[in-house]
Amino acid sequence: MPDLSIDFAGIKSPNPFWLASAPPTNSGYQVMKAYDAGWGGAVWKTLGMPTINVSSRYAATNYRDTRISGFSNIELISDRPLEDNLREMREVTKRFPNHATIASLMVDTREQWIDIIKMVEDAGANGIELNFGCPHGMCERGMGSAVGQDPKALKTIVEWVMDAASIPVITKLSPNISHITDPGIAAVEAKTDAISLINTIKSIVGIDLDSYAPYPVVDGKGTNGGYCGPAVKPIAMHMLKELKKHPLIKDTPISGIGGIENWRDVVEYILLGATSVQVCTAAMHYGFGIVRGMEDGLKRFMSEKGYNTIYDFAGKALPNVMEWKDLNLKYDVKANINSDKCIGCDLCYIACDDGAHQAIALPTDGSRIPSIIEENCVGCNLCSLVCPVEECITMVQKDDGTKHNTWQQLTDSEEIPCTWNDDRAGGKGHYVPEPIKALESVRKDRSGARAK
C-alpha cells in the first residue's frame, strides 16, 4: 500500500493534496470540512491588509458544453477580521494537528510582516505561504503580483520573513513575468524553505456583447482578473519545469498549482518535480469530494508502477524535458488510420488539407475512410488530435531507431542549413500542391440546397 504522506520542507501532511489559498479556505468551517473529506492540507485564504470586496467576483470561459475550462476572479484577500480567522485557525490546528494548515499572508511593511507571522504561529499554523501573486486589486496597492514581478522587492520581503518566522516558509510566485526563474532565484537567495506556483494569470475572460463590459461585470465595468483552472495547467507545468531544471532552484521543494483536478494532473505535476499540489478551481466547481478520486487514482498509479512514496517518482519526467535543439531530427513517425475504428467524419482529412501538410486522401469508393499519403506525412500529430475516436489514428515510428542527430550536433559539426534556399533545410523537396490546385479541386457545395 503506497504511503501518500509527505514532508514538504518540514511541513508534514498525510497526503500531497492541499487546498490552495482561495475562497475554499476562507473559513475554519470550510477547512475542517475539507480535512474531513480527505484533503491533507489547506493554505488559508490570504490574511493581511484589510480589504473590501466587490459584488460579482468570478467569471469563466466555457468550451462548448464544458463549464469552466478556465476561471477568473477579481476577489481580493480575506476581507474577514483577522481575529476571526486566527481563532478559527487555532480551532482547526488543534482538531487536526497532523494536517498541513498553512497561513497565506500578504502585508506591506516589515513591521506588519513580523506582527502577522507571530500571530499565525500562535494560531498553530504549520507553515506560511507568501502571496506575491494576486494580479488584481492588491497589486495596485503595491502588494501581490507587484512583488512577484519585482525580484528585488521579493527578495527583500522574503529575507524579512525568514528572519521573523520559526515555521517553514513557502514563497508563492506570480506567473505574470517573462522569466519565472528570476523571482525563483530571488526567493532561493533569500533562503525561502519552499516555493509554490503558479498564482493566477492576468486576464480578461470575456466581454459582454450587449454592455461591452469585461466579465465579471461590476456595475457596467470590469477589470482584469486572475485566470486559473484547467486552461492554465500547461502554463503552470512549464513554469514548474523551468524552476526544477534550474541549478540554483531545483533542490527547493515546490508545491504545484494550476488546473489540477484529478489524479492524472497530480501525477504529471509530481513527475515534473512538485512534491505537494494545491487545488482551488476544481474544489470550487465540484466541492471537496473530488479528492477521493485523486487519492484513489494516485494510489493505483503508484501501486502499478511499484512506488512506495511520491518521492520515488517525483521529477522523473524532468530528464526528458529537453531544449528543442537536443531533439532527435532522425526520429520519424507517420500517421496510421485504423479503418475498423474510423467513423468517416473526415475531420482528419480537412484538418490536414487546410491546416497541415496535405497528407490525407479521401477515398473514391464512398467509404469515407481516408488514407495517409505517407510521403507527404511529416508526423505532426494533427490528425490524431482531431480524430474523435479512441485509438483510431495512431502515430507509428518509421525509422529504425538507430540514427540520431540534433540541431546542436549539426551546429557543432557546422552542418546546419545557413542560406535562404539551403538544400539542407527540412522542407526542401517536400511535396506541396501547386497553389492553383486549391481552386481547381472539386469543391463540395456546402452552401445548402443542391437545387442552387
Partner: protein, 431 residues
C-alpha cells in the same frame, strides 16, 4: 390490449396522441449541439434530400445564433420546421450521423432543427424578403409542401405566386395526412403563415382545378404552372364486399382524424390492410383512439413491408398485433363489415372478425387530371414525367413535384421538388 381508452374529449385526444419527444429546451439544445463533430462534407447533409448544411446550423445553435441557424435551414428547405418533425430522420440525416458507426447515439438533428425553426416562427423573426416584382405570374396547383416550397422560392425571385388549393387549409398531407402524434395542425399552419407573411404568396382556398376550361384560363393568365397535386383518394381494390360500410381508406381516415380529433368514428375491432408507413400510422392511430383490437394485416412477409422499422415498432408499441402472409379475399358481413377473409400463399384461408377495415393499400393516381393537359407525359404508374434537373414536364410551361411525380414519398422530397421547380421556372422564363 387497452393501452389507450377511447378519447372522449379534446384533452383526452391530445393525451393519447401527444408527441413522445417534445421540443428541446435551451439546455438540451446546447448540450446536443455541442456533440456535433462538424464532419467534413458531412454525411447527414448528404443524406438530406434538401441538402441542409446541418453542421453549420448546429454550430450556429451552439454559439447562440439561433436566427442564423433557422436561416441556414430555410435557405435549403422552405418546410424546415415540419420536416424537422415529420422527416424519417433515423433513415436520413440521423441515420447517416457518423456517431452510429461507434454505437454512440446520433446527434438529434431533427430536434435541433425544430429548436431553431420554432424559435423564429414563435418569435416571428423576419428572415426573408420577397424579391422586386418582376411582372411575371406563376400558378401553383396544389398547396401542399411542394407547392408552398415552390411559391416561397418564386416570391424570393420576384414572381407573383398564386396557389390554387382544393381544400380549406394549406400544406396538403402535412396537415391532412400525417399522424397527429407527429405534428399538430397548428404547428403546420403556423409555419405556412410565417412564410406567407414574409414572402406574400397567395393561396386561393377551396379552389380545385379539375377541368380543361380552368387549365386553359390558367395558361392564359400565368407565365408558367407548377403542379403539386399529390395523389388521389385511396384506390379501390376490387375485393368482394369492398363497398360495405365500415371499410374506409387510410388517407380518408387520417384526414378525418386530423380534422375531427376525438369525434372521429373508430371501430372496436379494426383491421388495417397494408404494410407501408401509412398502414403503420393508421394502426397506431386506431389504437390511440381506443380500439380494443387492432390487427395489421399484410399480404407479404414482415421483411417485405415498405414501412420503416421504426414506424412498425411505433405501431407495435401502441399495442397493435400484426398478421403476415394475409391476402384479403373477401369482406364479410351484411351491410356493414363484420370480418375479412384472408388467403395465405399456400392457398389456405382464415377469417378475422372486425367492425372496421382501414385500407392502407395505396392512393389512386391523378392520371385523368394529367390527361387534361396537352402533351403531359406520365409513366406507367400515372406519375408525371419530369426532367430531374429542373422538374419541367413534357409540356414546357408546366413543372411538377411531390407525390404527383414520385408516387408518394416524404414531405422533404416535396419541399426539394418545389424549390427545384421554382429555380427551373426562373431559368426557363429567362432563357
Amino acid at each position: 390490449m387497452a393501452e389507450y381508452n377511447r378519447p372522449q374529449s379534446e384533452a383526452e385526444f391530445n393525451e393519447n396522441f401527444k408527441d413522445k419527444t417534445p421540443l428541446m429546451n435551451d439546455t438540451q439544445a446546447h448540450y446536443e449541439s455541442s456533440r456535433c463533430l462538424f464532419c467534413y462534407d458531412a454525411p447527414c447533409m448528404n443524406a438530406c434530400p434538401t441538402a441542409i448544411d446541418i453542421p453549420l446550423f448546429i454550430k450556429k445553435i451552439n454559439t447562440g445564433n439561433i436566427d442564423g441557424a433557422a436561416q441556414t435551414i430555410y435557405d435549403s428547405n422552405w418546410i424546415g420546421n415540419a420536416c424537422g418533425t415529420v422527416c424519417p430522420t433515423g433513415v436520413l440525416c440521423e441515420g447517416a450521423c457518423v456517431y452510429n458507426k461507434q454505437s454512440v447515439p446520433a446527434v438529434q438533428i431533427g430536434k435541433l432543427q425544430n429548436f431553431a425553426t420554432r424559435h423564429v416562427i414563435d418569435n416571428n423573426k423576419k428572415l426573408f424578403e420577397a424579391g422586386k416584382d418582376n411582372g411575371k405570374k406563376i400558378a401553383i396547383i396544389g398547396g401542399g409542401p411542394a407547392g408552398i416550397s415552390c411559391a416561397c422560392e418564386l416570391r424570393k425571385m420576384g414572381y407573383t405566386a398564386d396557389i390554387f388549393e382544393a381544400k380549406d387549409k394549406p400544406s396538403g398531407l402535412t396537415v391532412y395526412g400525417i399522424a397527429p402524434y407527429k405534428i399538430t395542425n397548428e404547428e403546420v399552419l403556423d409555419e405556412v403563415k410565417y412564410l406567407q407573411e414574409q414572402l406574400g404568396f397567395n393561396i386561393k382556398y377551396n379552389s380545385p382545378i379539375s377541368s380543361k376550361d380552368q387549365l386553359e384560363q390558367i395558361e392564359k393568365d400565368y407565365d408558367a404552372v407548377f403542379i403539386g397535386v399529390g395523389l388521389g383518394p385511396t384506390a379501390f381494390r376490387n375485393i368482394p364486399g369492398e363497398d360495405k360500410s365500415g371499410i374506409i381508406g387510410a388517407v380518408e381516415f387520417v384526414e378525418d382524424l386530423r380534422m375531427n380529433h376525438h369525434k372521429t368514428n373508430v371501430g372496436k375491432e379494426v383491421i388495417i390492410l397494408g404494410g407501408g408507413n401509412t398502414a403503420m400510422d393508421a394502426a397506431s392511430e386506431s389504437a390511440r383512439m381506443g380500439a380494443t383490437k387492432v390487427i395489421l394485416a399484410y399480404r407479404g412477409s414482415k421483411e417485405k413491408m415498405g414501412a420503416y422499422d421504426f414506424e412498425y415498432e411505433l405501431a407495435i408499441s401502441s399495442g397493435i398485433k400484426s398478421v403476415f402472409d394475409a391476402n384479403p379475399k373477401e369482406f364479410l358481413g351484411e351491410d356493414s363489415v363484420e370480418g375479412v377473409k384472408f388467403s395465405r400463399a399456400d392457398g389456405s384461408e382464415f377469417t378475422i372478425n372486425c367492425d372496421m377495415v382501414i385500407k392502407a393499400t395505396g392512393q389512386a393516381k391523378m392520371g385523368s387530371f394529367f390527361k387534361l393537359i396537352d402533351n403531359m407525359e406520365t409513366d406507367e404508374s400515372s406519375r408525371i414525367k419530369v426532367n430531374k434537373k429542373n422538374n419541367q414536364t413534357s409540356n414546357p410551361k408546366y413543372f411538377a413535384g411531390g407525390d404527383a411525380i414520385n408516387g408518394g414519398a416524404e414531405v422533404v422530397n416535396a419541399a426539394y421538388d418545389g424549390k427545384l421547380a421554382a429555380l427551373g421556372i426562373h431559368k426557363w422564363l429567362n432563357e
